[in-house]
Symmetry: C2
Subunit: 403 residues, 2 copies
DNA sequence: GGCTTTTTTCTCGACAGTCGAGAAAATAAA
DNA sequence: TTTATTTTCTCGACTGTCGAGAAAAAAGCC
């Protein structure tokens, strides 16, 4: 069902437009905003005045200009308009970061995840305490935090902030919205890690002016993650993380640590490669953790032409290739970006990937998708966090309007 | 990138809202429109006046009412506002239908597809001639046709009206927009057949007030089709047909008639079941056509407990189940509706389907998706055609506005 | 039949939003 | 100090939605 529209919606949309332009470019003058948004000058005046009054943006004093005529005055988001907390949960550490509304990192610390204290309840307490500490260190009141953006590997519920399955907690559900409860008025967001990579890549592509309809990020490591960014009909970006690592590949891939048989991860995750390389029976319960040095050894063997290591990487590549072919079958052909620790073995995977891709009609008709390896996954994840959290905050602000 | 909004967009959106309400319910009074759309009475007056002036809707004379007070006057789409042509291309027959703007069928004829005259060029001529004939029979001018909606099984380009691959023409591309060229001002639409089933089912669900986020239609027959209907964030319906039948299942499924190995269709399409039942080597070139009576025999054998026929249906079910599990992994859990001639064997497929589904983590976490068999596929396809074509026409009308 | 009641539709003025044009502001160049 | 140039701001026009009440049209009542 369509929904009714009104002048208020128009204002909201155009305010959001101005704010997002300002966020992308950092700071813009009145005329630049008009250029960017396509809105009339008069409209810009009204909207900037309102955003300024509500304390969301401010005129900056710097009048950098050479030409003659009245100097441009720049608008920029007010950095002290609010704050954002970013939490990256990985298998061994949890990283807490505090950034301001301008996206500037203010503080950061990490805590090792003690593996003996397991269970979601215990983690919940540690988590809440860490957030409090982060605020105290910078002397920021809790209600000035506009969003808390959390990421983990695993399966995240599409709607709220519930972690359904993760390598860290298994299928013990963890509801962050409930965890922070009434105490925080901030918007609580939980995202799959690779979703954030896709978000960051999409944002960069838009910034560069690259046009794309869809894009996928695949993270290779102990587990396999997928993030998808697609543009809707009206050009708005939809970023989400369907279940890829635990999508069924082939039952021959063996037992996965999620308990199912034949997941992509069971063939292409580190433990899957390890298992295949050492010819361990494929129904063996997978290793909890594979040190990178171990993987490097297998890779070295494969590069020297040893049979089983080579075979293991090739099988992993085929699993990925098949998975990508299914992805492009069910969505559409799109460029693929590969990140994560596993990319250091991409030379070994590549042939298998292409082999796995070539089997499908889609690929035969449309050609191989473009696959690019991108480094610095952690940076991309953090950028994605900020992009996602701040756009959410922006839309909260424009939705609230003058209420 | 967001796009700028204005009062014109508001009007367009609200006009579309009124028109779609009118289309759904057939005819509504002023007050009923206000109820349905949530718009103010005054707004309804303005919008209906404009649509009436442009000849899109009209007041009907019938004042069916018992109560007292001023009688309601009903608005309805003007049936003679324009016409829509629907073409269903199937492997043996092409059906041409003419309907008016009210969705009422005016004329219909079918032409057998002569299998000796193959090739897209020849078909193109026959096709164009048939359209002309359809118009002549009802004495309707070509420029009064607002949309031509064509359906075929196979792979359709997401953008235009290009048939990329079909069981009928193979990978010889067929561009209907180009075929009809400048002669027709109508909007040319090409859809996968199963997409239209999904469209019709989604429309029916909306009508019934059922709430759903997504829904899939799967058509079983000689080939396997998929249609997906999903609601976007703002509640608008997106219906599309990703490649499912030729998505990779497992290379053990054997040679598919598309030329690839291991497509779902190669296991679950009629020819795949036939091949498995008769233990034909799986790299045999598939049968072009399998009579239903032949399938019935195999099914009878399976129901009597014969080994290979039972095995064939079970393998087909597993292929479907695996495919559906991959679909719900990469999208989200959603109800599945099964149509097509193959549904008469669904009892034989079901166990395999459930087995194929149960292998995946997604299903273990969220449970088996609801699978419903629905009959009368042809009717659903036609309903989907009308729904899709007429909504497209409606949005063309509201977009044109008072230009 | 004429008046009242009831229900629906239409109309008017208020309000919100965008836009184009031109006024006002602010600086560099002459 | 004046002029030219560029940017920002302001005003009136236009379009759109909304609420309230007027007008219309039929049924009920006397």
């Amino acid at each position: 069902m369509l929904t009714k529209s009104s002048t208020e919606v128009v204002r909201q949309q155009n305010s959001a437009l101005v704010l997002s332009a300002l966020r992308r470019k950092g700071s813009l003058s009145h005329t630049e905003i008009a250029e960017q948004t396509g809105l009339a000058s008069a409209t810009i005046s009204v909207i900037t005045a309102e955003l300024e009054r509500s304390g969301t943006i401010a005129k900056t004093e710097q009048h950098v200009q050479g030409g003659r005529g009245r100097p441009r005055v720049l608008f920029a988001p007010r950095r002290d308009c609010g704050y954002v907390i970013v939490v990256r949960i990985s298998s061994d550490i949890v990283q807490y970061s505090l950034a301001d509304y301008g996206g500037v990192l203010l503080d950061r610390f990490e805590e090792a995840r003690s593996h003996d204290v397991s269970g979601t309840a215990a983690f919940g307490q540690v988590f809440v305490a860490a957030l409090e500490r982060l605020l105290q260190r910078s002397r920021i009141a809790k209600d000035r935090v506009l969003a808390v953006s959390i990421s983990s590997k695993g399966l995240v519920a599409g709607d709220g902030a519930r972690l359904l399955w993760s390598p860290v907690f298994g299928s013990e559900e963890l509801d962050f919205a409930k965890l922070l409860g009434q105490d925080w008025r901030a918007r609580i967001m939980l995202s799959n890690e690779t979703l954030l990579v896709a978000q960051a890549l999409a944002a960069k592509a838009e910034e560069k002016g690259d046009t794309f309809k869809a894009l996928a990020a695949i993270s290779l490591g102990h587990s396999i993650g997928l993030g998808l960014a697609r543009k809707g009909r009206s050009g708005e970006l939809d970023v989400f993380a369907p279940n890829f690592g635990h999508m069924l590949h082939a039952s021959s891939a063996g037992l996965c640590r999620c308990g199912s048989f034949g997941c992509i991860e069971a063939a292409a995750g580190f433990y899957g490669i390890l298992r295949a390389a050492f010819e361990v029976p494929s129904d063996t319960i997978p290793a909890k953790f594979v040190p990178l040095s171990e993987m490097d050894k297998i890779a070295a063997g494969a590069r020297q032409g040893q049979r089983m290591p080579g075979y293991a990487f090739r099988q992993a590549g085929i699993a990925l290739g098949n998975g990508i072919s299914r992805l492009t079958s069910l969505y559409e052909p799109m460029p693929i970006f590969v990140t994560g620790q596993g990319t250091r073995y991409f030379d070994l995977l590549q042939k298998g990937v292409e082999e796995g891709l070539a089997q499908s009609l889609q690929v035969r008709l449309e050609g191989l998708p473009e696959i690019t390896v991108v480094g610095d996954e952690q940076r991309l994840v953090f950028d994605g966090h900020l992009d996602r959290a701040l756009s959410a905050v922006d839309s909260d602000i424009t939705a609230a309007g003058h209420a």
